[in-house]
Symmetry: C4
Subunit: 235 residues, 4 copies
Amino acid sequence: MAAVDEDLRERVLAAHRAILAAGLVTLTFGNASAVDRAAGVMAIKPSGVPYEALDAEAMVLVELASGDVVAGAYSPSSDAPSHLVLYRRFEALGGIVHTHSPYATAWAQAGRELPCLGTTHADHFDGPVPVTRQLRVDELEGAYEESTGEVIVEAIERRGADPLDLPAVLVRSHGPFAWGAGIEQAVENAVALEAVAALAFRTLALSPAAPELDAALRGRHFRRKHGPGAYYGQP
Amino acid sequence: MAAVDEDLRERVLAAHRAILAAGLVTLTFGNASAVDRAAGVMAIKPSGVPYEALDAEAMVLVELASGDVVAGAYSPSSDAPSHLVLYRRFEALGGIVHTHSPYATAWAQAGRELPCLGTTHADHFDGPVPVTRQLRVDELEGAYEESTGEVIVEAIERRGADPLDLPAVLVRSHGPFAWGAGIEQAVENAVALEAVAALAFRTLALSPAAPELDAALRGRHFRRKHGPGAYYGQP
Amino acid sequence: MAAVDEDLRERVLAAHRAILAAGLVTLTFGNASAVDRAAGVMAIKPSGVPYEALDAEAMVLVELASGDVVAGAYSPSSDAPSHLVLYRRFEALGGIVHTHSPYATAWAQAGRELPCLGTTHADHFDGPVPVTRQLRVDELEGAYEESTGEVIVEAIERRGADPLDLPAVLVRSHGPFAWGAGIEQAVENAVALEAVAALAFRTLALSPAAPELDAALRGRHFRRKHGPGAYYGQP
Amino acid sequence: MAAVDEDLRERVLAAHRAILAAGLVTLTFGNASAVDRAAGVMAIKPSGVPYEALDAEAMVLVELASGDVVAGAYSPSSDAPSHLVLYRRFEALGGIVHTHSPYATAWAQAGRELPCLGTTHADHFDGPVPVTRQLRVDELEGAYEESTGEVIVEAIERRGADPLDLPAVLVRSHGPFAWGAGIEQAVENAVALEAVAALAFRTLALSPAAPELDAALRGRHFRRKHGPGAYYGQP
């Protein structure tokens, strides 16, 4: 195993602090991870430890291929197998953030995909954010957390999307997973997802038949920020 | 009477600070208590004192059996008799938190039990959180606070539940009571209850017919955190 | 004129800080006042000065009988005449708080009285909080602010209530006025009004036909805190 | 070119801090600008830079006539062309604030103009806040940001309004733009717009047929604060 990037655990700690400050998590809900592809290792939150008590050392290193803990005094998040499934299937992912944030989780509990109703959504997600199918009883009773990862993969592949163009999924009856090329982008996408979930909630309360954003406008906004023609941000 | 645990009042103070910081209480709404079973004593908030003015000394010690104040310069919370009824009936309870929190109280005022619509709920409560029956006029006009305790007990026993598996009840037209093996768990359950009450409010706004969580998934989540097969948190 | 109580302006300043901290006001919305009956003087917020810039000296002293400014470098709140009408009509009032708070103002704009749906409401208001009638064009175009005070008085008198038992009114299309025996109680009532306005909003969303609190329970709660048989708080 | 006002960038920085503190923006959403008419220059947020990382030097100076950057190390906000269209068409504008604030953006996404339902609205906006028409495909695919500015101008001119009497527009499917005689007034109007968007959201939830404010009352409130007969604030 190559040496693990020195910053990996610090970046995962910073992500946890950011999602706490953004109001996306409370108590011990949620978890974030980042991967070091060269070392074949993921750093993730320890299970059940309050956010206020976390430090970089507390982050658990887990081998990507085997799922074994390779360093850390704690047990990893019980959701670690879901993260591993996503990192293994989608090579482009560098970080994953799972929360029970107030509005995105409501959409997940309602079993509704999150429609793209405005440019804030289109700036981050190139289409509606999908909701996973219900788990079968054998999945629930077996390797539950792996199965959660599998249905996320299914939801992205069913859409035929590049996972970095559609960097979030709502796990039905559970809550959102967001990701990015790095953990910093995963945090940004988790924050944006919650903002657009709240906007969409209010939009449909005001206008239950509000139309989805025109595809041309959606593409224009997504491409302002993403891909070769992007002109948002600094060169 | 055995000597009362030295930390008891400090822990009750910390609980009040925690529910204030979590936004569950304002003005002088709500109260928390913890019990020292060996000493036969409960420590509880003084009545009508603002949260900002509380210190450990202000917490009132009340004898569990008689309801008499055994130490403290203040009168205990007017809801103290409700707490005593719960401690006497349910031996497993170590702490109780009563709030008028924004969403759980709305469910109580609506007279609706809180359905289990997602895994956040199932992580803490093994089924819908019940709402008490309406008090009769003789109960209202007599020992009102004791009667409040009695209808909470009724709501748990009607469900046939272990009170630590269903650690909260909504008192109709009033607000939530939550509890735990210790006051720290009671605070956690009060915070979780408010979070799931808010999630359920938004879920039903998005999807009025949202189904309750499948019993298999609910059991899986509750058992991840509770009982002999639990694997959430640190060993 | 007797000497004005030294603390009067400090207490009015503290009230403004409290309603800002409680989230009841933003920008230059709202205003609070307190009266010194012996001196025949009211202290009130200067008009249009941001909350952050207020100090005790900025509070304007206005003679109760004439409405003339008797001390202060600023012009008084444009709503000062509404306050004067209330102080003149109701001798028991010692302080008044007017806000545009998020939920109470929504009820005022909806032109709906605030129903008593739970014990939190009954702890502070002995019945539904009334909404004023619409102003006539001659009232609007004439002494608008005095007329605002007059319709508040009408709303209380139409109910036959003691103003300290029903210490708030919603001014239609405008926002809430709350009061108390002192300005500290007026602040408490303004905070409680906003809390119960939010609770009632959510309660009716969950259960549009939620019944008003039983009169016996409402009386029980109000009398726990108010009047000769009160047993809430410290003796 | 005349020397640019020394304070211009400091004032634009202060505006960004104010809208962040007021909860109107998150991540890199939104942008504010101010104009120096004598110098023919606008100062605006750099594109995609987080609010926490902004300082006065980071603000980009753009020539009003040409749209060229005349000073600054960064690229200007991608929305800069929308701001330029507004400054060129409306001579009275001194500052512009664009946000994706939680409630105003929901109205924009719902494609509904914001009705005037109360005096808080009338204190700032002399009539409903309009929503722009949908952009045509050629506008979307061409000079998108200029077209956004054009439809804002159209919405104000269609109403026949003085832009300082109606200092905000909702851009359909996007979010609000607010402005003022100076950037400080633009910030105040953006904050007020979000407050009244939230109030109107709740008002219609309570009373879907709530009437618009009577024109006489609306005029009375607007004229209390604006124009030759204003008597709100300090002389």
